[in-house]
């Protein structure tokens, strides 16, 4: 690596002569070693999924959740250094709380992403701190209904100016934030060790067309995690998934774990899809040999 030995990579916030901050790039390396995380934004909600590598048989199965709830309607998953992820989640919760205190209404997915992008960016500015060793995916569903003001107890006058904005608002949101603090909105986002394979699969879903629904997305997400994991088959892992629908959907606008039966169904289909792929591959190989 060209960075080593130049001295420009020994502290955070230092530019190299060609304009790079190596410490941030190294932080990205920490992310690239972590278990794969993905997010899918579909027409009626968002799905988050993560591959949790089982580092020890002694770990309690099903415990040690990696997907966190930030506000009722917001969830986060991340790849990289897990304690850094906790720090990120804590801060995101503080931001969501502060927003409610100021504006008496829930923070939107894009506003939270902006605030957190700013927070991560600040950790690239000083020698006294190091950047976050995570890439985080934020998923949310901003209410499409007329949002009540927090603490509102009556409906107010039934006629007269209400200060309401006409037209459609709210909807699903998905953002991915990198250690540099840079973030983009996505239809499908992937990070961590298996991100390349996961991205290739996400592209096949044509998410921009807005045809995939939430239940299908859950199944696709499970499949993608299984496919992305193919390269380290020897490592055991646990699949964790969460989802957010609109107020009429299965989660009623809240971020929650995917129910057990649906998760198991999705895992079963994912395993099946993978074994079929393997068979095809084998068949292909045989033909090649012929």
């Amino acid at each position: 690596m060209t960075s080593i030995g130049t001295g420009y990579d020994l502290a955070n916030s230092i530019f190299s002569p060609d304009g790079r901050n190596f410490q941030v790039e190294y932080a990205v390396k920490a992310v690239e070693n972590g278990g794969t995380s993905i997010g899918i934004r579909c027409k009626d909600g968002v799905v988050l999924a993560v591959e949790k590598v089982i580092t020890s048989k002694l770990l309690k199965p099903g415990a040690n959740k990696r997907i966190a709830t930030i506000d009722k309607h917001l969830g986060v998953v991340y790849s990289g250094m897990v304690p850094d992820g906790h720090h990120f989640v804590d801060r995101a919760r503080d931001e969501a709380r502060a927003w409610r205190e100021t504006f008496k209404t829930p923070i939107s997915t894009s506003d939270l992403s902006s605030r957190m992008g700013g927070y991560l960016q600040a950790y690239t500015l000083y020698q006294s701190v190091r950047p976050f060793g995570i890439t985080a995916i934020i998923g949310g569903f901003d209410s499409e209904l007329e949002a009540p003001v927090d603490g509102q107890v009556g409906s107010g006058p039934s006629i007269g100016a209400g200060g309401k904005v006409e037209g459609k608002h709210g909807g699903p949101g998905l953002y991915m934030i990198e250690p540099s603090g840079m973030y983009w909105g996505y239809y499908g986002a992937a990070t961590g060790k298996g991100r390349q394979a996961a991205k290739a699969e996400l592209e096949k879903l044509n998410l921009a067309e807005g045809t995939l629904d939430l239940k299908q997305a859950v199944k696709e997400a499970a499949k993608i995690i299984y496919i992305a994991q193919q390269d380290n088959k020897d490592k055991e892992f646990e699949l964790e998934m969460s989802w957010i629908s609109n107020a009429d959907g299965p989660t009623k606008g809240r971020h929650m774990e995917v129910p057990k039966d649906l998760l198991e169904e999705a895992e079963r289909l994912a395993k099946k899809a993978i074994s079929e792929d393997d068979e095809e591959e084998e068949e292909g190989n045989e033909k090649m040999e012929e």
Partner: protein, 270 residues
């Protein structure tokens, strides 16, 4: 000699994305004497080997009560552990004062995890040089958590940290399936046997060097609590004897078949 430039502080990533200072802190945990923790459906047990600096000195405490329903075991720098232990005590008391309830374990452990994480991201601090096993019972039953200097906390069914703890972990992995159904004394028995695996030749579990901490539910499905208690000295005599008897029985049965269920785990160190 190759000089590592990336290990001077905890705010510098290596080109591979590692933070050496944190990894070194994890080494300090391995210097501490071993502690073992394990859980059943009703109980959480901690077992520890205590060290004395010299023949005539007292033994260093390894187990601490945090609250009625939580206790912890330490491996590494004792003074760092006391900082965390005191913090946890305060948090538990505050939870009782504010909500009149026992602090949920997961919440308690995440608080020290977050505290430790900050030390790995800001200059001028150092990571905690201690690993903890936190055992307790809350609304959702018995729990065991491992805490590492990196700030990583994980819920475990069983765990061992400290010097030569790999031996104990091997024992725990081998017998993991049995723990859930174990009664209180059975679970302690497994804990001490795991502990025994880590001992070097000619060392034994004694009344002086062994500590056992127990917390649990008096009855499965009921709320009544058996508060966390550390057992030392004469209190652990029967338990140690039961483990010793088994070892003898095994030696006498050598050549023949093993002693069934109990025999298997003992072979690692011999």
């Amino acid at each position: 000699m190759f000089r590592n430039n990336y290990d001077n502080d905890s705010v510098t990533f290596s080109p591979q994305g590692r933070i050496f200072q944190v990894e070194y802190a994890a080494e300090a945990v391995k210097q501490g004497s071993v502690v073992v923790g394990l859980t059943s459906k009703t109980h959480a047990v901690l077992c520890a080997i205590k060290r004395n600096a010299e023949e005539l000195s007292s033994y260093q405490k390894k187990l601490f009560a945090v609250d009625e329903h939580v206790g912890l075991a330490i491996a590494g720098l004792t003074s760092d552990a006391r900082v965390l232990s005191n913090f946890m005590k305060q948090q538990c008391l505050s939870e009782r004062l504010t909500y009149d309830r026992a602090m949920p374990l997961e919440l308690l452990v995440s608080l020290i995890g977050d505290k430790a994480q900050l030390n790995t991201q800001h200059y001028g601090r150092r990571p905690y040089g201690v690993g903890l096993l936190v055992a307790g019972v809350d609304e959702t039953g018995p729990h065991l958590f491992e805490f590492q200097p990196s700030g990583l906390t994980q819920e475990m069914l069983a765990c061992a940290i400290g010097a030569r703890s790999q031996m104990a972990r091997t024992y725990l992995e081998k017998n993991l399936d049995q723990f859930a159904a174990c009664g209180r004394d059975e679970l302690i028995h497994h804990g001490l046997r795991a502990l025994k695996e880590t001992l070097v030749q000619d060392r034994e579990l004694t009344l002086e060097n062994t500590s056992v901490g127990v917390v649990g539910l008096k009855e499965l499905g009921k709320k009544a609590l058996e508060p966390f208690k550390v057992h030392d000295g004469p209190d652990v005599k029967d338990w140690i004897n039961s483990v010793a008897d088994e070892a003898e029985a095994e030696t006498s049965a050598e050549g023949g078949e093993g002693e069934g269920e109990g025999g298997e785990g003992m072979q690692v160190d011999e």
